[in-house]
Assembly symmetry: C2
Homo-oligomer: 449 residues x 2
């Protein structure tokens, strides 16, 4: 696979004037975070030392905890000053139809007025997922969605992310794979404290509960998606990336991307035309309607100079991975990880779930350093995506039968759940068996059970 760095040198020189601004704007997004983190910390000290001697603000929750009054306070969910912010602007709406302007400045002002949210803001993430509002046609569809959601909640709890589940359309026309865009935009506006929104499809799950995204790689980018430049620019395939899982930076560039992206969707008068354009370029696209994934690939393909510099095509690990490639290997991966644990007592040490990241970091350092993810890697797959299975409708790809899908899901869910339940003292002895769990012996797996 071509890495973004290498291929980004072959830019085509066909930028569109309307996008010209977009090239510089995104850079603001990140560098400003660094700037205001520094600057805002000083103001934070001033603000809080001021608050500790005064109580003129009727909104102020005076902190009784000395540690908070003296320095960097814990996040204060009860403090919202009356100073006007973007929420007080009648012209700002959460809807997909109306663009948001100057979002970076608006978000920065909010953060400066809420200093307790500045520490940790650099990569603070809110995960957003969702599914349809009606019961699934597939009899076990909702059961699987419930377990997929539990898995995401587990990952977010372990890593301290917030998670929001959207199960109602925010725009009647933006349904199915287009429904994510209105939800992501609304989440950006509702969560100015978050630098990233992490969209994860309902049929994707975390199969490595320890792994955390390599944020440092994404510093200069505003959208991270699993994909391969060569497949976009040479093969012109509508599967050159997968739009079912993405990290999008909460900044003006992203607001504009969502507007442009939505412009190829069902709300657009040119929706039908966009479907034809997509199929004319990406010959392997199966259906006539314009879809969000091909639309994103189209932007990268057609306006490479505008979008490519800011969209990180992550191909170094399973940012999301195709389940058929992953599920058969889960039993072997389990064994490989048990070997690491037999080899090093630190990995066998029981601990509070809240400090799990310390052990994930240790395993990374001791056993996985430099180990690339993806096919054939000894790394656990990070995210396993049941593309083509359609758990809710049950209308899976005819390449495989339904049971292959449903059994694969249960196996992957239990594989992930073993990493979680271990912190509660239990394990699924067989990946195909959800319940009852087996108690884990002390010092497992050094002592077999």
């Amino acid at each position: 696979m071509v890495s973004p760095e290498t291929s980004s040198s072959h830019y085509q020189s066909s930028p569109m004037a309307k996008y010209a601004g977009a090239r510089t704007r995104p850079v603001i997004c990140f560098s400003d975070v660094v700037l205001f983190l520094g600057g805002a910390f000083m103001s934070l000290i001033l603000v809080w030392s001021f608050f500790s001697f005064s109580s003129i603000s009727p909104n102020l929750t005076v902190k009784t905890n000395e540690s908070s009054a003296k320095c960097s306070p814990e996040i204060d969910m009860k403090y919202d000053p009356t100073d006007p912010v973007y929420y007080d602007d009648p012209d700002l709406t959460y809807t997909i139809e109306k663009p948001v302007k100057n979002w970076d400045e608006k978000r920065r002002r909010w953060l400066n007025l809420h200093p307790s949210f500045i520490t940790g803001a650099e990569n603070r993430t809110v995960m957003v997922t969702g599914s349809q509002s009606a019961p699934c046609k597939n009899p076990i569809g909702d059961h699987l969605l419930l377990r997929f959601f539990k898995n995401k909640v587990d990952y977010c709890r372990i890593h301290g992310h917030d998670i929001f589940y959207s199960n109602a359309l925010l725009h009647p026309k933006m349904n199915s794979y287009w429904a994510k865009l209105p939800a992501v935009k609304a989440a950006m506006i509702a969560h100015p404290e978050a630098e990233w929104i992490w969209w994860v499809d309902s049929d994707a799950l975390f199969t490595d509960m320890d792994f955390t995204p390599p944020w440092h790689r994404y510093k200069e980018h505003n959208l991270v998606v699993h994909g391969w430049p060569g497949v976009i620019y040479n093969d012109r395939s509508w599967t050159a990336l997968n739009a079912g899982v993405f990290l999008i930076r909460n900044c003006q560039w992203s607001m504009e991307l969502i507007d442009t992206w939505t412009g190829m969707g069902p709300v657009s008068p040119e929706y039908a035309k966009w479907g034809q354009i997509q199929r004319s370029i990406f010959k392997d696209k199966l259906f006539p309607e314009s879809d969000d994934q091909t639309a994103l690939i189209y932007l990268l393909y057609k306006h490479r100079e505008v979008y490519y510099p800011k969209i990180y095509l992550e191909g170094n690990f399973y940012f999301e991975g195709y389940w058929l490639e992953i599920v058969p290997g889960l039993t072997n991966i389990t064994e490989r990880y048990l070997e690491m644990e037999r080899e090093d007592a630190t990995l066998r040490r029981r601990h509070a779930e809240k400090v799990s990241e310390r052990y994930g970091a240790f395993r990374e350092e001791r056993f996985l350093k430099g180990e690339r993810g993806g096919k054939g890697s000894k790394r656990r797959p990070f995210v396993t995506h049941f593309t083509g299975c359609q758990p809710c409708s049950g209308d899976h790809n005819k390449m495989y039968d339904g049971d292959t899908c449903w059994n694969g899901m249960i196996k992957a869910i239990n594989f992930a759940d073993n990493q979680v339940m271990r912190k509660y003292g239990f394990v699924h002895s067989d990946l195909g068996k959800t319940s009852p769990l087996q108690p884990l012996p002390f010092d497992y797996p050094d002592e077999p059970w």
Copy 2:
């Protein structure tokens, strides 16, 4: 209803020797928290000022953020020192069969070794809920469970609680209503940073997203449950309290309660006997098997002096409420809350979801101060419990038909979701209609839509 304070003076003098210790132990639980919070803060300062000049500990994640290094650090999920803690004790297990001893000391030691978790520890809560591991028999059962879970995740996100969903048995015999006890015990051990575990049944939901439990009332108690002393001690009814929702303090007293409680469950050789004893005292109990709710009532009834002082029977608001009593009033309550919002612009002000508690506190102060919850109150019901509906099996009480249950659930879920989605700019225009949502106009409801 008799308040605990008044009726707690009529103690029967029938303590059992084996419980004598339990009367004092619980007091340790709380007062120690206060003690070590103070003490630990000093050690925290020492610990961190030491860390900032040294790095001898291989486990130490040296904080680069100046604010953290200088003072009260943000929660450090990557720090777990090698000093031995209870996790390193081979004799400590997470299982329901084996008692945990000296839990208060063990938990306190862990907290002192993890100073970043001390701030906010006083009432830190982990919510635990769950359901069966297999798909529901009721065709819409899993869909409803998914939406009930989303509701709990929403409440926890808004108030900063962690939430854990258990969908596998931790002991094969501890199933159905007994399954919660092994899950709660395992969560206590896995979450030493948490002072409370909040069990909430899968068929209960939060219908007031702003309300927070009155923690100050529970300072001297270790278990909080919705119930009425008069109905235990005078009427001797198995519905004198509801065990489907409870707050249990993460302390030794609770560990011992869970052991005693479990002693009346399916793992006990005397399980059958306990069912008979329960029915002999609580004549309205419907089925012969010993159940967790009657078992708890039995302990309060039989060993009042031991348990009553530490179990807070919350009857002042819907700590959990019977849905048939609540659902018909939801439309009126919506109207009452809109009136408050028309009356005060602060309640109409849009804001980040993360600072929602500030507006909940404002509404409390401005409109609800002194307002008791429960039947006929102008307060929203805090938790609505669909007791008797059995969403997963579908085997609902024959008093009412299934559709009354399912429609009531959708109505209650959307009633709650309106409080959440408003922070994302949208609303369910009709409580019976989940999707699509309607955009909220600016300054709603002052401007009607």
